[in-house]
Symmetry: C2
Subunit: 458 residues, 2 copies
């Protein structure tokens, strides 16, 4: 579907408008395998006023607008499936730090790691701990309610949002929330925008709550005889009176990949990696004992601790699992990154289920996950050009999502719905989907904002 976007030239924007083929192609996809789709124009917004002018003009004409910042999403969230305008907020990347208020005011194009580099000077950080921090932006994180390694202790992106500046579909610029630690004043509109993936409004500024950088960190790495035993260790830790800074699950396949790329020399068995944050060495040592007991109770085969410097090496290795999985087989790659959440008490069950289903479908699928939140990622390896194999990988996704929903879980913990999880929305949320649709119609009556995302087709 193409749209006439000549009207953009008449807007006096601070940012550039591009319509050349190369640019349109560059903005036709995210990092997912979901089919690309060309926009008719890319607008590089330089200001909230730009965003407002573009939205008002597009709404008047019924031209779709797909907002995007970093484009590192993996559910097709910013693919302009209906064409129209791709509204790029990546150029908006100002940061203001109010250290005394533990507050940062960031524009949507600010990259997570860059923000934390700035904040480190103040002993502060924005704490969800996203894995793609080198390219994920504040705008995308708010849009998808993203999170990662450290959410188990510090919460997800939405838990950190104090106030948003939002441009509505009709161009109105509004502030949702206040730049304070808490408020019981009126509806929590900011929280409705968080995770709405640009379908209800475009966020142009975010006031974020910050956490102090932990004074002391220590880690433990334990190997287990079975996936279920590793899952049990996770459940034991979370049932203790301890909240780790991070607690990751890696199955034997993931550990094998880690060994390959990092010469880690680990036993090829399921592992649990725990990071502890505290104010004193003595405190984290005590916590380490709790973790050791939990792992021993789950019959771990090894238990090693890591110092502050070793921890960063471990996480760097953990981050290499994904690229290594992409190279797992010469003729194949990671078809997509699965992302489900279950109650943590059922983590042992979901990790076993993942393996059984993958086996059943004849698909290799290394698993990792932010286990303390009950979050499991599976990385099915497939030849994308092999329709049968790719189909089986997709079937694994279907079955895993349905298994997670059946266990009381959710179809996506971190990546959002995008185009990839739409079909599961009704199954997961039942009648609440109708309410979502009503709210969408209220805030975007012309339906121009990121159409074809989040809400299922009727």
């Amino acid at each position: 579907m193409t749209h006439d976007v000549a009207f953009l030239d008449a807007l006096s924007l601070d940012g550039r408008v591009e319509t050349d083929r190369e640019t349109l192609e560059a903005y036709s996809h995210d990092e997912s395998p979901h089919p690309p789709s060309l926009p008719d124009a890319v607008v590089h917004a330089a200001s909230t006023d730009d965003v407002s002018a573009v939205l008002a003009a597009c709404e008047e004409r019924g031209v779709p607008v797909t907002p995007r910042s970093g484009g590192s999403s993996i559910e097709g969230n910013p693919i302009p499936t209906a064409g129209g305008v791709l509204l790029d907020t990546f150029p908006m990347d100002d940061v203001e730090v109010h250290a005394a208020d533990r507050l940062a005011i960031a524009e949507p194009g600010v990259v997570y790691d860059d923000l934390n580099d700035v904040l480190a000077e103040y002993g502060l950080r924005f704490a969800p701990g996203i894995a793609a921090g080198d390219r994920a932006t504040v705008g995308g994180m708010v849009a998808n309610d993203a999170s990662g390694l450290n959410a188990v202790k510090y919460g997800v992106t939405g838990d950190h949002v104090r106030r948003l500046t939002v441009v509505l579909a009709d161009g109105r610029v509004l502030r949702f929330g206040r730049d304070v630690a808490k408020s019981a004043s009126g509806y929590r509109l900011k929280d409705l925008l968080v995770g709405s993936e640009g379908t209800l409004g475009v966020v142009t500024e975010v006031a974020l709550s910050l956490e102090p950088v932990p004074k002391t960190r220590r880690a433990a790495l334990a190997a287990f005889p079975t996936r279920g035993a590793a899952g049990e260790a996770v459940a034991h830790v979370m049932a203790s009176r301890l909240t780790p800074g991070a607690i990751e699950y890696l199955d034997a396949d993931a550990v094998a990949l880690l060994n390959e790329t990092n010469d880690a020399g680990l036993p090829e068995a399921p592992h649990v990696l725990v990071e502890l944050h505290g104010t004193t060495d003595a405190g984290v040592e005590t916590d380490l004992d709790v973790v050791r007991d939990a792992c021993t109770d789950a019959e771990c085969e090894s238990f090693e601790t890591a110092s502050e410097t070793e921890i960063d090496r471990l996480w760097a290795a953990r981050r290499d699992v994904y690229p290594a999985a992409c190279d797992y087989r010469e003729d194949a790659t990671v078809a997509f990154i699965g992302d489900v959440v279950v109650p943590v008490s059922r983590y042992p069950e979901i990790v076993e289920r993942a393996a059984a289903l993958a086996d059943d479908l004849g698909i290799a699928a290394p698993c990792v996950g932010h286990a303390g939140d009950g979050n499991l990622h599976f990385l099915p390896i497939a030849d994308l050009d092999d329709e049968d194999e790719f189909g089986r990988a997709m079937e694994l996704n279907d079955r895993m999502v349905r298994a997670a929903i059946e266990m009381g879980g959710t179809s996506t913990g971190e990546h959002g719905v995008g185009v990839g999880k739409r079909e599961f929305m009704r199954e997961e949320h039942d009648g609440a989907v109708d309410v979502m649709r009503d709210l969408k119609e209220t805030l975007d009556p012309a339906g121009i904002l990121n159409p074809g995302k989040v809400l299922p087709e009727e």
Copy 2:
């Protein structure tokens, strides 16, 4: 305004319907001085089905429904100002604990302290730390997004809500959210309902995230030469890499009340009370040093530490400030509890402003506050029958709220909007109020749910 409620008799409810004068009067007010208003009937709901049946029948007839659970609110939030049905969810008080998932499923009538008594057996707690915990209910806390002493570390009620069962105005029963630690699936409807004070739907079940009970607690109590110095100490603590479990401000008047009722023998000067939570004694001792430094930097005149047993005595004394203030003068009482929030960096300014404005108006107004969140409560003493004095107390509220909003703060940190803060909504939220109104019309088109609350009159 009276409504014909005879139709209620035809509904087959599990709970009772009452229309006798005594009952109507008992449910005509909350704990605030806002004018009472009689409902036409009180329905004591015994189940979600009851709530659904009542709402469907009332919507059909355009009869207002005001939900209420504990009735301990102090902004008139559950006063049935438009008459109709007072829907009492207090009888619904089941609790289910899933300790391994750090999850409690509670009905709206569960009292905060009772819930925490049950949870203590599992080493867990629901952590916002509300002051009126002996009568505040889960339903009311969700409706007002309530919080208290411990929100500075653990967040407000909304931060703990994983899933709500909600009955919409038309009687539909829906689940918003999932019983897991996190989900990026669809709009965060649960967060829209939190703090909506029964104007968007009636909550009949809440899945709450729990925190481990802290292993070690220690407290410090410091006296300061001026209010501003005490405020500086708070700002210093919050600018350190430490997040206290609680950090309270008390001005000299509040301390005098505390001395009177508790023989506390404290110097009649502004105080800051800090509670620290940790996993080891050594850890909290280190944190205590940070607090001592912050207080010394702010030129404290005394600094004393308290053990675990002494802490509870201190908090009990702190809770006595309000009843003592009510008896401050024989012919007067606390006119209302003021509740504003500012950025914590401006806490020194707001505490001085409170004193100056009260002086200016010739009103005594002891101040306390959950200072780490920038939250200040002021307790103006007035003879409620003395129009002039009560008027000056209300004027103090006006000026304080406007001062807080001007400093970037909010008109209410904990108590909600109710009828008391409606007039400030436009000033605080500007155009976002129109969006709130649009959402209200979408979810409650007949306008039956708690009319006359939250949204300002046009």
